[in-house]
């Protein structure tokens, strides 16, 4: 879609320019659909020339100046399969019938900043997800909407908290200590996917006691701000061979998002209203005490058991329920003339999540406008403004005062009534020295996070030159992604737990400003010869990423205050970054032999301020070829072999190149000490070199399509925050010190097993398997990233082992009642799934549509510390299992390392399109479509995992060590009723 306007400009220009050339012949015709209906806006071009036009509303087209002799007309329309129609030397009329592209095989895929190519020729396996596929069941964020739909993408939700917090890993682990996020590009704007803490550590003390933030603050990642309803399509460049054009920020893959834009014609209005409900999808359960004696044995607490009216409360049911319905309203209008197109979209939604007091609210307004000025200049301005307001509640790890609901439930016997108020107040929890009661906490403790974000781009294309054989376009893109985040954690002195630390009352504020800006200037020259088309593009890219986070924490407050300047104990923190990148690139693409052979070569030279040598340009080359076979057996329509090689990078983090002197004051004097981390003044970007090859085949008249890809990528100069011997006075050092090799296979099969007039069955299956191995490690083996202990399971790096290895104590060398430290056996395990599969099926029977998506991860392990909490307190639901785990753990066994494979029903929906008769009455005569849909997300999970959800990650998004689970915000399922109207 993105290139659509450019074509338009270039093609119109071609027509104008060629008008002065010697007249040849004129070809007129009509493009129609399977039922004979006219197809508007289809592109009709003459192969091997720059000649082309678009069909009008009646499907008719006129091509003037068609060269003499036999020619081939190429007819394309998004959503339909392309037709190459040969016309004879004398033919002057043509009728073309297009068939629906049910399997979405024909799309344009990105090959450069301003270039794209038909997916039929693409040399990479590029996954595409259309707006249609994204919107089957409402998703909290874009990442959720992609789960299970892309072969090779493992998308995991960090917790059930509303408003996001998910990680996308493409083709395995691609870094250890550098950035873990893929690059997100929306209409040419490079986006921030920052995870910004709202200061939960101020009350949870999950990390350093008294620190403002920690890595365990359960933040959302900011891609969640995007409005999925504005998205036209998402392309996923999974690896370095496809992403090389984005240089040193593309090694984790690139997710290219195109938002909707206007189209020529009368305004089309789309409106949908959804109402839904979130509910707890899985419970841990609590121990039901059967007798006073049992309670006595547990904690000398028989009397309390006897006095209790309800002997066994279902804490989770009591707490995680009662949330109001959620809603989502979306409306958009699109339209335009040949010169001006527009798309205006709006969204208002509120997710009322299962934990009382937690919610996610979002409003967005999008205005995308395109304008053709004169005949040569095409300007497009895309603007999205988003506001989100989120309160994610308290969850996850905690220490000291015990505030996380899961932790409180694990510490409180089920015969205690936490929920019932007496004298208008919740009971103080006698089982915790802090008295913490989650019902009171959720009523009093607020942690709203308010984000205002603008994402805008200006895309100007100047058709500098065009002739029958050549075009030269100059494109200038300016992108801006700016947001401000304001959060305030407010925990009043009246919360029972607040007094426990002797500092009643906590306020923690965060003021963040983030600005990412990028400029691209590029030229693309296309030369169309008889043999084929050569496209040369080159350009410059400049990027500036800047962020400033200012945080304040105040403790020990007078009652009733809301400002952070109150409070006896004050902490202040500021964290900034500024990164400047600059790149030159050039690319040559040759499409030859009747659009059967594609050859591509490109190089991107890039420097960045974060590299040790900030003036050095690093090269990110790529080369690729694809060939569509000419002679095929009769059942096959198309068979393409492809091979692509390329390199992309991952930059060092900000400040990695500097060794610093941390600051503190002592007795009013400024002080500086030696840092625990040694910087790397010569740090280089990580480089991932990827080779991928495979084939795409279409068979049985387009009813079956399959793609198969093998890849091997080598991440060199791996950026490690490697462990050093603490006796040196340091605890870690940054270095380019290793190599990681990922090998994998991806398979996709799409089919329409049934396709009749009334019944269509569309089925898609994806399969991916990847194995990452540390093929070189220049430092001693160590446990990277954040983790609790090897007693439970910690990530581990060692040459020759899998990058997703977990190291855990498992048993004693000599059997002892309690296994002493030097007697323990340290063993390694594999945390990553063996493979992942996604199955989606859609059946349309007349006006009824049934759709389902199943996501399967086979194998893998997670560290279930939630179980450990219940076990350590003796409150687990299954006493026998709990006692066994306790005994086994004491004997040194890795009991909290648990199988994490699962099968989930991600999406399920049933839709009904109302008969035209009713539609017309409701929506007047303009009615196109009125649909009623019932849908659900994450409805059912089958897993052996004993915790809440094997997807969760206590430390948020991280390259390795995602697998740790500590009393998270529980996962939820959601049900929705939607009404969608197009008119």
């Amino acid at each position: 879609m993105r290139k659509f306007g450019m074509w338009l400009g270039a093609l119109l220009l071609t027509l104008l320019l060629s008008a002065s050339a010697s007249a040849q012949r004129r070809v007129t015709g009509r493009v129609i659909g399977a039922a004979g209906e006219p197809i508007t806006s289809a592109s009709v071009s003459v192969q091997g020339t720059t000649l082309g036009t678009y069909t009008a509303e009646d499907g008719r087209f006129t091509l003037a100046n068609v060269p003499g002799g036999a020619q081939v007309l190429v007819v394309r329309r998004l959503g339909y399969r392309r037709v190459n129609l040969p016309i004879t030397a004398l033919q002057e009329t043509a009728e073309v019938r297009l068939e629906k592209d049910v399997l979405e095989l024909e799309r344009q895929v990105v090959t450069g900043t301003t270039t794209s190519i038909s997916s039929a020729n693409s040399a990479n396996s590029i996954a595409q997800v259309s707006a249609e596929q994204l919107s089957r069941a409402p998703a909290p964020t874009v990442e959720n909407a992609l789960q299970g739909k892309i072969a090779g993408a493992v998308i995991s939700t960090n917790s059930g908290a509303p408003g996001g917090g998910a990680q996308v890993q493409l083709r395995g682990v691609t870094s250890i200590n550098a950035n873990s996020s893929p690059l997100y590009v929306v209409d040419g704007v490079l986006l921030s996917n920052a995870e910004i803490s709202t200061g939960l550590n101020g009350i949870s003390n999950a990390g350093t006691r008294g620190a403002i933030t920690s890595s365990q603050d359960q933040p959302a990642n900011r891609i969640s701000d995007l409005n999925p309803a504005d998205i036209e399509s998402i392309e996923v460049l999974k690896g370095a061979s496809a992403g090389a054009i984005y240089g040193s920020i593309a090694a984790n893959g690139v997710i290219v998002i195109r938002t909707k834009r206007g189209s020529t014609g009368a305004p089309i209005i789309n409106a949908s209203q959804r109402v839904g409900q979130f509910s707890l999808s899985h419970k841990m359960g609590s121990r039901c005490f059967g007798s006073a004696a049992e309670a006595d044995d547990w904690g000398g607490d028989g009397a309390a058991w006897t006095a209790a009216t309800v002997k066994c409360h279902d804490f989770e049911q009591e707490f995680y329920s009662g949330n109001s319905p959620s809603y989502e309203s979306v409306a958009s209008v699109r339209g335009g003339t040949t010169a001006t197109t527009y798309y205006i979209g709006g969204l208002a939604k509120r997710d009322n999540a299962i934990q009382p007091g937690s919610y996610y609210q979002k409003q967005s307004l999008t205005a995308n406008v395109g304008q053709l000025i004169g005949s040569k200049l095409n300007i497009r301005a895309n603007n999205e403004f988003v506001h989100s307001l989120t309160d994610r509640g308290i969850s996850g790890n905690d220490n000291d005062d015990i505030v996380s609901p899961g932790d409180i439930f694990s510490s409180t016997p089920s015969y205690f009534d936490l929920k019932t108020k007496t004298d208008g107040r919740y009971p103080v929890n006698p089982y915790l020295s802090s008295g913490s009661n989650p019902f009171q906490n959720s009523e009093l403790v607020k942690n709203p996070e308010d984000v205002y974000r603008y994402i805008g781009s200006l895309n100007t294309t100047w058709a500098a030159y065009a002739s029958a054989r050549q075009t030269f376009d100059v494109t200038f893109i300016a992108g801006l992604d700016a947001f401000s985040l304001n959060s305030k954690l407010f925990s009043p002195p009246s919360a029972y737990f607040e007094g426990n630390d002797g500092l009643p009352g906590t306020i923690s504020t965060n003021k963040t400003q983030s600005t990412f800006a990028n400029l691209n200037l590029s030229g693309a020259h296309k030369y169309i010869a008889d043999l084929g088309t050569a496209t040369t593009s080159f350009g410059l890219r400049q990027q500036r990423r800047q962020s400033d986070i200012i945080q304040n924490l105040a403790k020990n407050l007078p009652a009733g205050v809301t400002d952070v300047n109150f409070g006896v104990q004050q902490s202040v923190g500021e964290s900034q970054f500024l990164v400047k990148d600059f790149a030159y690139y050039a690319q040559e693409e040759i499409l030859a032999l009747g659009e059967r052979l594609l050859l591509t070569g490109a190089v991107n030279m890039e420097r960045s301020s974060v590299n040790g040598d900030d003036t050095k340009f690093y090269a990110y080359p790529k080369a690729a070829a694809s060939y569509r076979l000419t002679t095929l057996p009769s059942f096959a329509n198309d068979l393409k072999f492809r091979l692509a090689w390329g390199r992309a990078g991952n930059q060092p983090g900000f400040g990695v190149k500097y060794t610093t002197l941390p600051y503190s004051t002592y007795s009013g004097q400024p002080g500086a000490r030696v840092s625990l981390t040694v910087g790397a003044k010569d740090i280089k970007p990580e480089t991932t070199t990827e080779l991928e090859g495979g084939f795409d085949a279409t068979m049985f008249s387009g009813r079956l399509a399959t793609d198969f890809t093998l890849f091997r990528k080598v991440v060199d100069d791996l950026i490690l925050q490697a462990n050093v011997a603490p006796t040196t006075g340091f605890s870690s050092v940054f270095a380019n010190a290793g190599q990681l090799t990922n090998k994998g296979v991806e398979v996709g099969v799409s089919a329409t097993p049934v396709q009749t007039k009334n019944v269509t069955w569309l089925s898609r299956t994806t399969f991916a398997k990847v194995k990452g191995t540390i093929t070189r490690l220049d430092v001693a083996p160590f446990n990277p990233g954040a983790f609790f202990s090897t007693r439970y399971g910690a990530p581990y790096l060692q040459e020759g082992l899998s990058v997703t290895t977990v190291q855990a104590v498992n048993g004693c060398k000599v059997q002892q009642a309690s296994c002493t430290a030097d007697n323990r056996i340290l063993q390694t395990f594999e945390s990553a799934p063996d493979f992942t599969m996604g199955f989606s099926n859609e059946v349309n029977v007349g006006p009824v549509r049934l759709y389902g998506l199943v996501d399967w991860r086979k194998g893998g392990l997670a560290v279930n510390l939630t179980d450990n909490y219940f076990d350590a307190s003796g409150t687990g639901p299954d006493t026998a299992a709990m006692n066994k785990r306790n005994a086994d753990f004491a004997a040194g066994k890795a009991v909290y390392l648990q199988p994490a494979g699962f099968v989930k029903i991600r999406e399920l929906s049933v839709g009904y399109t109302l008969p035209e008769m009713i539609t017309k009455n409701v929506l007047l005569n303009r009615a196109k479509d009125l649909r009623l849909e019932l849908s659900g997300r994450n409805l059912k999970t089958w897993t052996k995992y004993d915790g809440y959800d094997p997807e969760v990650s206590n430390f948020g998004n991280q390259n390795v060590g995602r697998f740790q689970d500590v009393t998270p915000y529980p996962p939820s399922r959601s049900y929705w009723l939607s009404l969608n109207a197009t008119f």
Binding site: G300, D400, S411, L540, Q569, Q570, S664, G729, F730, C819
Partner: protein, 474 residues
């Protein structure tokens, strides 16, 4: 006709590109969030040496963190930190051995070596303050350098001492004054560590003697105006703190089998700030503040409880009972771990309460320990009574046996220095009393008490040394 417009357009594009390139800015971005380390590589001056000195003293204060305090006292069964979100505070000491790969086994280690690294960085950098490139007012002279060196060496020696307190017979490396990236220094045995510390304290004392009458840098408030006429903020008075540490180290060298050490301990005590006539509380102290960027007292924590058995062991009338808050708090659960009942402690009473580094009280009792080893039980009893009578207790008679005298002095040390550091842990080990004869096992539900008396070498250290450490011993 085709070429010319193309060439013209290309020229235009080139011009625009050139403009674009011209406006690209300087690629260098400095460190924005911390003090850059080039003040080290460029050489120190008076101001930056002062910055590092305060940083060193702050790091020294920070190294005596909650975990050092709690784990040393948990091993000695005086203090338990009961936190149902983190049962490992007790389970990994009282139920199972600490995990070298977890936070208990990894505690009280790295920070001491970071103090040592910071001290070495300062000491090695001080001579650069004499370079001619500096304006005279930024330079330091030899007397000033001797003062800063003496303080830094004393602090460094104290960090070594605390590290060996926690690792005991496992040893630690001592030859650490080498650039990062060089071969790791070998671990040496406890005996060699203690003699290294003693020599380092002596070297510091020599430097302090050559440091003139005042320091050019300010010391924190905890070193000044301790009591009328007593401070530690001149080279001469700081040396009395240095000698106090020396006496402590020599005592434990003696108890570890070096009989010549007691005489040296005695000499050092004489040069320390020991004074039976002064308040027992005279001590250099760590001060705390809850202002931004400052540090609060880490022992202020409502999850820290005293073992009720410790309170029960008090002689009646002992006013040190005030170190225990009234009331008990029973902790539930901990299946497979001791069901602990605990009393709150009043030691970390508030966020800004200062903590003693080494006190007159401790020195008097150290002198009693030295005298016991020298056979002077009567002299030892005088010192014991000098402390005891201050807390509302009657003086004791001279004990009949050395063992009884040791018991008597350990009683005073336990309660006088309650939750002030690793003193009791070190004493129990030094006198061979770290066993069930002297300590009550906390086992419950059939688990055995492993009697953990030291923390292990952290896994992060082991991983860098091929999985285990070997010690050299002279």
């Amino acid at each position: 006709m085709k070429i010319i417009p193309l060439a013209r357009n290309l020229a235009l594009v080139t011009a625009v590109s050139a403009a674009f390139t011209a406006c690209k800015d300087n690629p260098t971005v400095p460190e924005l969030n911390n003090i850059p380390a080039n003040i080290l590589t460029d050489g120190l001056d008076k101001g930056t040496s002062q910055l590092l000195m305060t940083g060193l003293l702050d790091r020294d204060r920070g190294s005596v963190d909650q975990r050092y305090m709690v784990f040393s006292s948990t091993m000695a069964r005086d203090i338990y930190r009961l936190d149902s979100a983190e049962p490992r505070y007790v389970t990994e000491i009282l139920v199972a051995a600490p995990d070298p790969g977890g936070f208990v086994g990894g505690s009280a280690f790295t920070n001491f070596f970071n103090v040592i690294r910071t001290a070495n960085t300062l000491i090695d950098g001080l001579p650069t303050t004499k370079r001619a490139a500096l304006a005279p007012q930024f330079q330091l002279n030899d007397v000033q350098i001797a003062g800063a060196t003496g303080v830094a060496q004393t602090i460094k020696a104290q960090a070594y001492y605390r590290a060996i307190e926690m690792r005991d017979t496992l040893g630690i490396p001592v030859a650490l004054d080498k650039p990062f990236g060089e071969e790791l220094a070998p671990f040496v045995c406890k005996k060699d560590v203690l003699s290294y510390i003693a020599a380092l304290l002596d070297s510091a004392n020599t430097n302090l003697a050559a440091a003139g009458s005042s320091f050019y840098f300010p010391l924190p408030a905890g070193f000044t105006a301790i009591q009328a006429g007593i401070d530690f903020n001149t080279p001469a008075t700081f040396a009395t703190y240095n000698r106090a540490l020396k006496a402590k180290v020599e005592l434990y060298r003696g108890l570890a089998g070096d009989p010549t050490a007691f005489a040296r301990a005695s000499t050092a005590l004489g040069q320390s700030f020991i004074n039976t006539a002064a308040s027992l509380n005279v001590a250099p102290v760590y001060t705390y503040s809850n202002a931004a960027n400052e540090t609060t007292n880490p022992t202020f924590d409502n999850n820290i409880f005293a073992n009720p058995k410790a309170k029960a062991g008090l002689d009646s009338g002992d006013t040190r009972a005030a170190k225990f808050a009234t009331g008990t708090s029973t902790r539930y659960g901990f299946t497979g771990s001791p069901r602990l009942e605990a009393t709150r402690t009043a030691v970390g009473a508030n966020q800004t309460k200062p903590r003693r580094i080494i006190s007159n009280e401790e020195l008097i009792l150290i002198r009693a320990q030295v005298k016991i080893e020298q056979g002077d039980l009567a002299g030892a009893t005088d010192d014991i009574n000098a402390v005891r009578t201050q807390y509302g207790l009657a003086a004791i008679a001279v004990p009949a046996t050395k063992a009884a005298a040791i018991t008597a002095v350990l009683y005073e040390k336990r309660y006088s220095l309650f939750f002030e550091g690793a003193q009791r842990l070190v004493d129990l080990r030094a006198y061979g009393r770290f066993n069930a004869n002297y300590l009550t096992p906390e086992s419950a539900n059939g688990s055995t008490d492993p009697f953990v008396s030291m923390l292990p070498i952290p896994k992060s250290e082991l991983d860098q040394r091929g999985g285990n450490v070997t010690r050299t011993c002279s």
